[in-house]
C-alpha cells in the first residue's frame, strides 16, 4: 500500500533536473509552517496532450477485444477439458499450464520468428503458392493482438475450467430430455451457470492487458500506443518521473473498479463452493 501513496505524492510534484528527478512536495516555508505544494500540472498535461488520452482509449480497446478473443478460443477449450475423461483431463490441464510456466518474453519472441517478413508463416504460405509476396504481419496491431491473446489464454482457461468442472451435467441431460436443442441448452443452462468463471477469467485477462508493456513493445511496432508503453517511455527515456507517476495513478483509478469487481466475483465463487 505504501508504494502507491508515494506514487501519488510524486505525481503531484514538479519535474526537477536532479537525481531523483522530482522536487519535494513538502517544503519548510519560514520556520514553523510546512507548506504542501500540490502541483496539478502533470495531470493537466495528460489531459491536454491527446497522446495520453489516445493511449488510454487504445489500451482499453485492445484489452477488451483481446479478452473477447480469449473467450472465443478459451471457452470451448475449458468446456471440452471439463467434459473430458478424468485421465485425459489432467493431461490437457497440464498442457494448458505448461506455457504459463515458460517465460513470457520467450513466448512473445517465438511469434517474432513466426510473423516476420521471412518468418515461418510467410515461408510456408509462399512455398504453398497461396501468396506471392510476404505479408507484413510483424509490427502491426494484428501481431499485438495475437501476442496478447496467446499470452493470456491460460489465465482465462484455468478459472473457467475450475468453474465448469463443478457443474452438474445432469441439468443438460434433463434439458435435452425436455426437448431443448443442444445450443439452446447451452445458452440457457451452461452459460448462466458459468457466469462467475467467465467474469473471473475475463478480469484476469483484461486488467493486466490494459497495462501490458512487453507485448506491444516487441510485436506492436512504433505505432502501437499502449498506456503501459507510454509510462515506460516517460520513465526510462524522458526521465519524467512525475508524469509517469500521474499516468500510473490514472491507470490505477481506471482499473480499481475492475479489481473490486474481480474480488467480489471471487468471493461469490468461493461462497458458492462451500
Amino acid at each position: 500500500m505504501v508504494p502507491f501513496v508515494i506514487v501519488l505524492k510524486i505525481s503531484f510534484s514538479d519535474i526537477d533536473l536532479a537525481i531523483p528527478p522530482y522536487k519535494p512536495l513538502l517544503e519548510w516555508v519560514g520556520r514553523h509552517t510546512l507548506a504542501i505544494k500540490l502541483n496539478l500540472d502533470n495531470y493537466a498535461f495528460l489531459f491536454t496532450d491527446s497522446l495520453y488520452l489516445h493511449a488510454f482509449a487504445n489500451s482499453i480497446k485492445v484489452a477488451f477485444l483481446s479478452t473477447l478473443m480469449c473467450l472465443g478460443i478459451g471457452y470451448p477449450m475449458a468446456y471440452g477439458i471439463a467434459r473430458a475423461r478424468p485421465a485425459t483431463r489432467n493431461a490437457l490441464l497440464l498442457l494448458v499450464i505448461l506455457p504459463f510456466w515458460t517465460s513470457l518474453l520467450l513466448r512473445v519472441y517465438a511469434w517474432i520468428g513466426l510473423l516476420k517478413a521471412n518468418g515461418v508463416i510467410n515461408n510456408v504460405l509462399l512455398s504453398l503458392g497461396i501468396i506471392h509476396e510476404p505479408l507484413t504481419m510483424l509490427y502491426t496491431p494484428f501481431a499485438m493482438y495475437v501476442g496478447i491473446v496467446y499470452s493470456y489464454l491460460p489465465f482465462l482457461i484455468l478459472p473457467l475450467y475450475a468453474n465448469l468442472e463443478k457443474m452438474d451435467w445432469q441439468l443438460l441431460e434433463a434439458a435435452e430430455d425436455l426437448g431443448c436443442r443442444p445450443w439452446q441448452a447451452f445458452y440457457k443452462i451452461t452459460l448462466p451457470l458459468s457466469r462467475n468463471g467467465i467474469l473471473a477469467g475475463s478480469m484476469l485477462v483484461f486488467i493486466p492487458a490494459v497495462g501490458e508493456f512487453v507485448i506491444p513493445a516487441l510485436l506492436g511496432g512504433p505505432n502501437a500506443l499502449m498506456i503501459g508503453r507510454v509510462l515506460w517511455d516517460e520513465f526510462f527515456s524522458n526521465r519524467a518521473w512525475p508524469v509517469a507517476s500521474a499516468v500510473a495513478i490514472l491507470l490505477l483509478i481506471l482499473l480499481v473498479p475492475f479489481m473490486m469487481w474481480y474480488q467480489s466475483v471471487q468471493a461469490r465463487e468461493s461462497a458458492g463452493a462451500r
Binding site: 531523483p20 471440452g80 510456466w101 517465460s103 474480488q263
Partner: protein, 276 residues
Amino acid sequence: MNYRSSFFILTCIAFGFAFLYIPILSMVVFSFNASKLVTVWDSAHSPTLKWYYALLSNEEILDAAWISLKVAVINASGAVILGTLAGFGLARFSQFRGRFTLNAMTTAPLVMPEVITGLSLLLLFVALEQLIGWPAGRGITTMTIGHMTFSMAYVTVIVNSRLASFDTALEEAAMDLGARPFKIFFVITLPIIFPAILSGWLLAFTLSWDDLVISSFTSGPGSSTLPMVVFSKVRLGVSPEINVLATLTLAVVTTMIVGVSIWMARRAKLDRRPVI
C-alpha cells in the same frame, strides 16, 4: 454430448493447443538451424548444435543467468515463508478486523499491471533511501524485495486454498494429546500442506526468473537479469541464441512440471487426500 457438438469442441481444443504450441515448437526446431537467419532452414548444415556452444560461451548471458538464479532462489524462499504465514492467517482467523483489506491487498498484485507495481516499488526505494539511507542504491537486494512483494501473493492464494480443505480435527487431536501449537504446526500442518508450499516455491521461482518489467524498474547498474538481457537482444531482432535459450528453458520447465505432478499424483494416491 451429441456427435455434432463434440466434434465442434474437439476442433476447438485442437485449434487452441495448436495455437499454444506451434510457436514454442518452432523455437525448438530452429534452435538446431545452422543459418544465422533464424527462420530460414539451412538444410545443408542442419541440424547442428553450434548455437548451443555459442550460448554456453556467451559471458553476458551466463552472468545474467547467474544473477537471475540468485534472485529467484532468494525470492522464492522468502515468498514462501511470507506467503505461508499470510495464507495461514487468512484461512484460520476468519473474523478479524482488516481481513477483507488483507485479502484484497494480497490478491491485488495478481492482477495489477506490472508497470504500476514496478514504478511504485522504485519510488518507494528512492524515498526510503532519502529518508533512512537504506537501501543504498539499487541492485540485487531491491530487485529481490520487489519480486517478493508480488510472488508472495501467489503463494498466499495457493496455501490459502489448500488450507480451506484442511481437516482441523487432526490439529485438535494433536492438541488433545498434549502437543504444543508450535509442534503441531511443524509435525501436522506443515507436512500436510507441503505440496502447496512446494508448488508455491516453484511458482515464485518461475515468476522471478521470468520477470522483466519489475526487474527493470528496481534493478541498478551492473545487475541485469536474464530477461533484461534477452529483451534488449530481441529488440534488435531475432538471434539464434535466444532460440537455444528458449529450448533449454522449456526442457527444464517441462521436466520439472511433469516430475512434480507425477510425484503429487502418487502422493495423493497414497494419502487418498485431495492435493490442490
